[in-house]
Subunit: 184 residues, 2 copies
């Protein structure tokens, strides 16, 4: 136990005001049934509500009218932040067999299909610079008629891919060397 920090929790920054609480009370008894973390972060999803097409079934969003204030000292219900994605998916797994019902389970941006030309340009840029700054990305976005966000994600994934492939080839080489040594 650390009795000393019951409420010694005073940030020297003097920022927000914590209340008195003990970690024990938090760590303590029930730490199950607590809050599901996370939030969606899907800006494009609001298109659903205005399109009217499959609007209301688009998101598993709970009540959103949330006027949560940021300095989170007191009463903010983190709980409402989102319905946990995986749980949601799993609980509706039966429905997934029906393709026609799929649409309402997607809280995900529709996968972008890059054209051959777009990929070519991106690859060429990547070859020279795999960390394009914001201005380059914007420029590319405009020229390729893509959102800047797609570009950024693309580079991110591309770097990951490069790294992966490199790692693999390294492994392969290591194995080769290993075998070669055995043969000596």
């Amino acid at each position: 136990m650390s009795p000393s920090l019951q409420q010694a929790a005073q940030p020297r920054e003097g920022k927000p005001s914590p209340r008195s609480f003990s970690i024990e009370s938090i760590l303590g008894p029930d730490q199950k049934n607590c809050a599901p973390p996370l939030k969606p972060h899907r800006p494009w999803a609001d298109a659903c509500s205005s399109s009217g097409k499959e609007g209301d079934r688009c998101l598993p969003l709970p009540s959103l009218p949330h006027g949560v204030s940021f300095p989170c000292a007191v009463d903010h219900p983190v709980t409402e932040e989102r319905v946990l994605k995986h749980e949601y998916y799993r609980s509706t797994s039966e429905r997934l067999s029906l393709k026609s019902e799929m649409s309402w389970y997607k809280g995900r941006r529709p996968r972008t299909a890059f054209t051959q030309n777009q990929i070519e340009v991106l690859e060429n840029v990547f070859r020279v610079n795999c960390y394009p700054g914001i201005d380059i990305r914007e420029d590319l976005a405009q020229k390729l008629n893509l959102e800047e966000d797609r570009i950024q994600i693309w580079f991110q994934n591309r770097r990951a891919k490069l790294k992966r492939s490199h790692r693999e080839s390294q492994l392969l080489m290591a194995k080769k060397n290993f075998n070669a040594n055995l043969l000596e």
Copy 2:
């Protein structure tokens, strides 16, 4: 040379270009945000340098078939040579100039995977106080068997996340109100 993608070329600013690539005119002037440099103290990165065992976290590095270089920043032989000696750019001020060419990042701490329980506790504390002082963090660290540093970073990221979600829901509401006004 890539015949079909000249379209991407838009000489916005003149800058030294590695090659006669048309696209590189786009990315020539890349200033910042390129490769993450190194931080002074990273105990966990020890294994990375020099020793034969290239940690999996240490980036894919110049151990490719010699002569074949990395697709990124290929046109900087000097750089690549330097790269071979980790200590070199790690300790020199020159590393700043290498920054934009260093696409590989060596000493990153392995990503921590928190357990469900750790997250629950952290979330619970966060709900009460999202700016825990050093003493609380230390206590948490001890109780959750984590480094205090992990805790601090967690809270930092958690605050960022909250802020983001708050910002987004505000935006959403604004849009809704906007649409509602249109319908009146």
